[in-house]
Amino acid sequence: MTCMQDLSKSKGATTLERPSWWEERAPQIRELKFTLYLLRQSPLVVVGFALIGLFIGVAIFAPWIAPYGPEQRFWQLPQQPPSWQFLFGTDTTGGDIFSRVIWGARLDLVIALTVVASAIVIGSVLGAVSGFLGRAYDEILMRITDVFLAFPALILAMAVAAALGRNLTNLTIALIVVWWPTYARLIRGQVLAEKERLYVDAARAVGASPRRIIFRHVLPNSIFPIIVQATLDLGGVILTAAGLSFIGFGAGAGVAEWGLMIADGRSYLFQSPWIATFPGLAILFSSLGLNLVGDGLRDVLDPRLRR
């Protein structure tokens, strides 16, 4: 791999004529192909992708898959064990857990995606700006992220959600507040690294604007680290959101949200274990899938471990 990077460096440094976008990206595309090959080699990543695919599929096709609505309750049939009518049994209010787990996939994945996407956008903008402007701006932003990172994620989210009030929107906001600094730091690091690299100087020399540098050089180079981080974070957000729901933040009563479903079922773990078990497994497997892929991606993309 080193040899490919060398190539790209020398190219940027020596050619003043701007190569086409595809040409410029050729080494990266080759690298991507190689990455995909390596990923296919790892059974764990394949399993992870399968799990993620399963959950995304379930979330998208929820209305067609779920036999009942997310808040359809059979009051006369509470705490029914799994059967063909209720594949995962029913909860204490007679809601079909199978359906609720499916609808919950929709809700939880949307929350996780919203949080991570917003964190990436906010973090990227702030990180890129501070990385580029440098000096005082950079210093201030870094001190701010220091403060945010001085709290463990769950605890900061807890406090923010407590101050804002309990509902799903505030939960989402709290999680964004917790997660953006990671991306700000990541992007800033990339910007600084790219700034150091020769070809940015060369691009600057031919009159590129900072925006162009960010979009053509910094972001493409940051995509892989961001993907790795985002994959791992999606799992983290799902778990943290579930944890917060579990202790009473987030969704209102009766909403099909995994953390809340577990909280509702935890008092019945020994008599009606299915109530907490299936949403628990849903969290476990969705988060496991994301972690497997994230871990595998990191392994494969880590230049130190790559061969």
């Binding site: 019945y268 773990l269 008599q271």
Partner: protein
């Protein structure tokens, strides 16, 4: 050399392994030898009762404590002038620290004669001075959210002090002097104390049985911070129950963990049989159940929603037969004096967008009362551990008129509900798309499900009305209901003293009633009747007044009377001598003061529950065919 070294290492490894195995075997063997099942006592710690519950003791000081967790410790360690006739479920007043009492003909002056043998556990005798000090103290601290404003309000001069605006967190000397000069509580001689009321208040003796009237040792309090009117005594909040006259005394209070009381060996009455009572705080129901089944807990607190973890569902729901599903358990279900849960409807609530006041419309309220599925709530949510709501006065209490209530009660009827809602809509009480939020306090599972049930049934009516469900933490819930910000909220009342006057004003008196005010109605005529009933001495007249008020409350439908719960007592069957009294703050452990004990026996039954793995397997296996098909 290398080979030699390798073999040396593996020999060493082998030796180490052998040694480790020997140590492990010896350790496990030794442990087993020490704890051979046959050598262990079959009933663990026979002189100690372990109660595993949730909720932390708030304050130990009887003058301000107003929660059940504190109340039960105070009931074990402190005593009042009079108490209920025990053991048993009776609410008849019996002597305690006062061996007798006289009531003046006008019913305003009570003279108590103290038992000369009564003494604190430090050996000092109980004097009239201590009694006066205790009651004055409770009034003068005057915690507005404590028990004093409810229970001591009829003592001469107390009402002015307790309703005074600037007497809390502030020493208002003028008000203090006014109260003391009114002479509500007087010492006649060292063993006689006289209490004067501002009216002939019939339930007064009953209020004197509540823990707020517990007698504290004046010298001890004075030595530890004394009395500052308007403020707590922090020492007493922590230590009050260490020195009392009761059969137990506090020895340890570790917040969030446990409270330990030990037998008062210096007790002036019949000493307790148990040497020690431990109250453990465990928030998870599952953990509490495990502790009970394992024998680590003798008594646990079990919410009605978990009832079928311990008793047979079918037998209970079909013939109200309590049959524990696990051997070695003893379960009792007893009627209580608690009126809960009920939905309070706030007539003054205005929709922030449309400005409509739907709950002010009687037809709308009737619709709500008809829309609630009482039977489903009672059968599937609280698992039959309740009866349908009967208005403000609980069954079994004076003033409860079963016939009347049966004739007034609402029943679940979607058709009638729809009819009334449509009537209300036609009258402009609300328009299509109206949303109302139901509130319940965090952590109350029965209430959560009750809200969802109402939400679902209203949604099924299709009358253009949607309910949403929101949880609120307890203080916020209280603050918002007080500010009349919540449209529909849960209300409930547990007994302080055994008289309808503890209940009816709360629900019906729009002037002072805790809930009536929050629901925003005020009918002077009814208020007058409630006040009249409180001091009416003729039981027949009194009963008639309460019937009138009850009828009015049902007819106006300000409240959806959902239920009156049953008390669930879950213990190991080696706990003997337990009895239920609806007035106990802690019905599970307070009988320890009246002869409850643990039986020593030779046959301990281990309680087993199905291995979780099996249960999970049983839940997963039915879905396996799907996967099999997918794989093929």
């Amino acid at each position: 050399m290398s080979e030699k070294k390798t073999s040396g290492t593996s020999k060493k490894t082998l030796a180490a392994l052998v040694i480790i195995v020997i140590i492990v075997i010896a350790g496990v063997g030794g442990y087993y030898y020490m704890y051979l099942p046959s050598t262990r006592p079959l009933v663990p710690n026979p002189d100690t009762l372990v109660h595993t519950t949730f909720g932390d003791v708030d304050k130990m000081d009887p003058a301000v404590a107003y929660d059940t967790a504190s109340g039960q410790i105070i009931e074990l360690t402190m005593e009042t002038l009079v108490y209920y006739k025990l053991p048993g479920a009776s609410t008849e007043i019996a002597p305690k620290l006062a061996k007798s009492w006289d009531v003046s003909p006008d019913g305003k002056v009570y003279t108590f004669h103290l038992d000369e043998t009564a003494k604190f556990n430090d050996g000092s005798p109980v004097t009239a001075e201590d009694v006066k000090y205790s009651i004055d103290r409770a009034v003068l601290i005057g915690d507005p959210d404590g028990p004093a404003p409810i229970l001591l309000i009829h003592i001469l001069g107390a009402a002015d002090y307790l309703y005074c605006e600037d007497c809390w967190q502030n020493t208002n000397q003028a008000a203090v002097d006014a109260y003391l000069n009114a002479g509500g509580v007087k010492v006649i001689d060292p063993l006689t104390v006289q209490i004067t009321l501002d009216a002939a208040y019939a339930p007064f003796l009953s209020t004197m049985a509540y823990s707020v009237a517990s007698v504290v040792n004046k010298d001890l309090v004075e030595a530890n911070g004394g009395l500052t009117p308007g403020f707590y005594n922090e020492w007493m909040n922590q230590h009050a129950t260490e020195v009392g006259t009761g059969p137990f005394k506090l020895v340890e209070w570790t917040p969030k963990q446990r409270v330990v009381v030990e037998r008062n060996e210096n007790y002036w009455g019949t000493p307790a049989k148990l040497a020690r009572v431990i109250v453990n705080e465990v928030d998870e129901v599952g953990t509490r159940e495990l502790a009970l089944f394992a024998g680590d807990a003798d008594v646990i607190t079990l919410p009605a929603t978990n009832l079928f973890d311990v008793i047979d569902k079918d037998k209970w729901l079909s013939n109200k037969e309590v049959v524990p599903i696990k051997p070695g358990l003893s379960v009792s279900m007893d009627p209580t004096y608690t009126v809960s849960p009920n939905f309070g409807l706030n007539t003054k609530w205005k929709d922030p967008v449309t400005g409509a006041m739907p709950l002010d419309n009687k037809d709308f309220r009737y619709g709500m009362s008809y829309a609630f599925d009482y039977k489903t709530f009672i059968d599937t949510v609280v698992n039959g551990a309740a009866i349908q709501g009967v208005g403000p006065i609980p069954p079994g209490m004076f003033g409860y008129n079963e016939e009347l209530v049966k004739s007034l009660q609402f029943s679940y009827s979607p058709d009638k509900a729809k009819e009334y809602f449509l009537k209300a809509k036609a009258a402009g009480a609300y328009s299509d798309g109206q949303t109302i939020t139901l509130y319940y306090n965090t952590g109350n599972e029965a209430r959560r499900r009750g809200c969802l049930l109402l939400k679902d049934s209203v949604a099924a009516l299709g009358v253009g009305l949607t309910l949403e469900v929101q949880e609120l933490d307890w203080p916020t819930f209280l603050a918002k209901t007080r500010a009349r910000e919540l449209p529909i909220f849960f209300i409930g009342w547990a007994p302080d003293f055994a008289d309808p006057d503890d209940y009816v004003p709360v629900f019906a008196n729009g002037e002072i009633g805790t809930f009536a005010r929050r629901q925003g109605f005020n009918n002077p005529e009814i208020n007058a009747k409630v006040d009249e009933a409180a001091i009416e001495s003729d039981p027949a007249k009194r009963k008639a007044l309460y019937d009138e008020v009850t009828t009015w409350l049902f007819q106006e439908a300000y409240t959806i009377w959902v239920g009156v719960p049953l008390n669930i007592h879950v213990a190991r069957d080696w706990v003997k001598g337990w009895f239920y009294n609806p007035m106990f703050a802690g019905p599970d452990i307070v009988p320890a003061a009246y002869g409850m004990y643990k039986e020593e026996r030779t046959d301990q039954v281990a309680i087993t529950i199905e291995p979780l793995a099996l249960v999970i397997a049983a839940t997963v296996v039915p879905t396996l065919p799907n996967y099999a098909r997918k794989g093929a």
